[in-house]
């Protein structure tokens, strides 16, 4: 099936939660809704599910207008960020409930529940009650209930956010595999850019109820159409430095000058916001045209094998994403190298006007 949201507005008590969203999801696609808390992800999913009708606009499924069709008559599933299960039913009955309500024969239900439970590694827990399970197991149960019926549309509203990161990693991997074999539209809301990248598929970037960009995940990541999109879709956030472009050079903070590369020269001279990804800033110069900056360390966040180094220059803060483990003390002086050839440029309206060339890339053979 295909799902088309046509010019959706949703206003609650005079406050717009969703404004003017137009989005078409293709059959069999996996879609990520990326945005910060309160960006409108949950609201949008509720509209897609039919839990609420939009204030304005139409929802078209397979060419049919279903805007006012109740959730019970749409074939959807949803997994929430809280672990939502029926506490009075066992795990088996929880998972089986959609099929039981659809009056499937007992033997077929047994078989299906067995398959799903095995897929989610909870086959040994079928006789337990949800509150006796750990968080991860509870969420697996909820997923089982969502997956057991062949829903046309499956919605995941930050399903992993309340789990430990290692479980998150495992479940995320499993999820990707689960959907490869299915022919339904999956929509997955998250606040984490890395989760979007790990899940692949398409990504829609939401900000303050508006759709900023929609496209294949990698493309949205590499070619954000605006400053917000770029900030939203990078973790740590892309560094933005305001600067002035003249015919020959770029000036930051009225004191840092460097010549700009040929591509940037094509832009009109003027004020721009320049973006550079955290992973492109380095502690050693990579190229001759790298700009050396004197900074002080705020904090080095270390995650397993990576370091996110927060530093501040006299006028602007920067974040570096370094591989490997590096420890620094607070306020330690440091020199970082700013890659002048890997700059994004955004005009003052926030639109992308320049995207740096990509260096190679690994593709699946």
């Amino acid at each position: 099936m295909s799902l088309h949201l046509q010019n959706i507005d949703h206003i609650v008590n005079g406050v717009p939660h969703i404004s003017g969203i137009d989005l078409a999801l293709e059959p069999g696609s996996f879609n990520v809704l990326l945005g910060r808390t309160l960006a409108g992800k949950t609201t949008l999913m509720r509209l897609m599910a039919g839990l609420e009708p939009p204030t304005r606009g139409k929802i078209i499924i397979d060419g049919k207008d279903v805007t006012n069709v109740s959730v019970r008559k749409r074939n959807v599933s949803m997994v929430y960020q809280q672990f939502i299960n029926y506490p009075s039913l066992t795990v088996y009955d929880n998972i089986a409930s959609p099929l039981k309500l659809a009056k499937h024969p007992k033997s077929a239900i047994d078989k299906r529940v067995g398959e799903i439970a095995e897929m989610l590694h909870i086959e040994h827990l079928l006789n337990r009650y949800p509150q006796e399970l750990s968080g991860g197991q509870q969420q697996r149960t909820a997923m089982g209930r969502a997956l057991i019926k062949d829903a046309d549309l499956i919605l995941f509203d930050e399903p992993l956010v309340n789990l430990d990161y290692k479980l998150r990693e495992e479940l995320r991997d499993e999820l990707r595999d689960l959907f490869q074999a299915r022919n339904c539209i999956a929509v997955y809301a998250t606040t984490e850019p890395n989760e979007a990248l790990a899940l692949g598929g398409n990504t829609a970037v939401l900000h303050e109820g508006k759709l900023l960009q929609y496209g294949p995940t990698e493309q949205v990541y590499r070619e954000p159409n605006g400053r917000f999109s770029a900030e939203m879709f990078s973790e740590p956030p892309i560094n933005i430095v305001p600067g002035r472009l003249t015919d020959t050079e770029i000036t930051f903070d009225q004191s840092l000058h460097f010549p700009c590369d040929d591509k940037l020269k094509r832009l009109e001279p003027g004020d721009y916001d320049f973006g550079v990804r955290a992973s492109h800033l380095t502690l050693q110069p990579q190229r001759a045209d790298d700009l050396a900056l004197d900074v002080h360390v705020d904090v080095a966040e270390i995650s397993g094998s990576e370091t996110f180094l927060h530093v501040h220059h006299e006028r602007f803060p920067l974040v570096l994403h370094l591989s490997g483990i590096h420890q620094f003390s607070v306020n330690e002086p440091l020199k970082v190298y700013f890659p002048t050839h890997q700059l994004y440029a955004f005009d003052k309206q926030g639109h992308t006007v320049h995207i740096p060339a990509r260096q190679g890339g690994a593709a699946h053979g």
Binding site: R36, T37, S134, G135, D164, Y165, K166, E169, T191, P193, N194, L197, A198, G200, E218, Y221, S234, R277, A278, S279, D298, V299, A300, E301, I302, S303, G304, S305, F308, H310, H321, S323, I325, Q327, S329, V330, R358, Q359, G360, G361, A362, A363, H364, G365
Partner: protein, 376 residues
Amino acid sequence: MAEITLKGLAHSYEKTPKGAADYAIRQMDHVWHQGGAYALLGPSGCGKSTLLNIISGLLEPSEGDVLFDGQRVNELPPEERNIAQVFQFPVIYDTMTVFDNLAFPLRNMNTPEYRVKPKVLEVADILELTSLLDRKAKNLTADEKQKVSMGRGLVRDDVTAILFDEPLTVIDPQLKWKLRRKLKEIHERFNITMIYVTHDQLEASTFADKIAVMYEGQVVQFGTPRELFERPAHTFVGYFIGSPGMNFMAVEYRDDQVMFGTQPLPVSEQMKHAVANASSANAIANDISYNNIKLGIRPEFIAIASNPTADSVPIQVTSVQDLGTYSLLTFKLNEQTFKARLPEGHPPVGEAAFAHFDAAHVALYIDEYLVEAGHE
């Protein structure tokens, strides 16, 4: 000043524990040095909160001793231990102002007001709470509340250790790094032992100089973030630290080769000897062909190439995920799934490729614990 020593410590919530499974904390010895920044890292239920409560005195261990500077404090209640604790959910006194909250511990010790005020102002300044001092604590945001509860520990001159129990759980993701910075700054400024409990590797490695990784009631490794990454002392550490975790291969010594199933593995001579020794030692000790010998390699140390190189093994690539700053490659070797991390800009690889394991980073695990094979 406090050096905290745990001696032969064990704890069970059962009155008469029957087996190892009844213990929340199994027999352990450990020393936290004065002024260190430590983290207790582990999945939920590993016993880390229990351990923290034993150190703070909210819980009395069923076996062993807790020593503060060599003094046994097992029975001392928290109020007599010169420690402060910051809880997962901010605990503040709703009806008081921020100032009164910070002054509360001092006033409870009958500190004269003329000494309370400068101390509170000093701590408020460090925590950037000065502008909020007149506000009712109830209406603060979560991160401000958490700073207030930290401040209540810092105002006391007698506090020698601050314990943190997952303090950033309720903090907005965008604000977390600022609070982490504040924590680091405070640690560098005050000479206070800090112990930070968390299940998140990022929190632990960012905060701590040394991390104790707990698994099933035991500290399986105590080391710097770098050590945890480069030389995991236990397979659990390898798995738990790093995203994704370490790849493990159950190997055996056969025909003068280290075999992973049917695949001979190119390893260093030392490693080969170590595996050979372990195989025979195990076989003798257990009288059966029982083996629990594993080689571990981090995804970061696997190089992938389209053509065979020296010491590479043929693999089947199943997928490549572009994660922006790097790509994650999943491959199959001997029917087992492996992960490898490719740097940004890595040339594309086909379905049939070759993997090279960096010999310096292949680690040997016997019965889940690291055994040094002796690198040159």
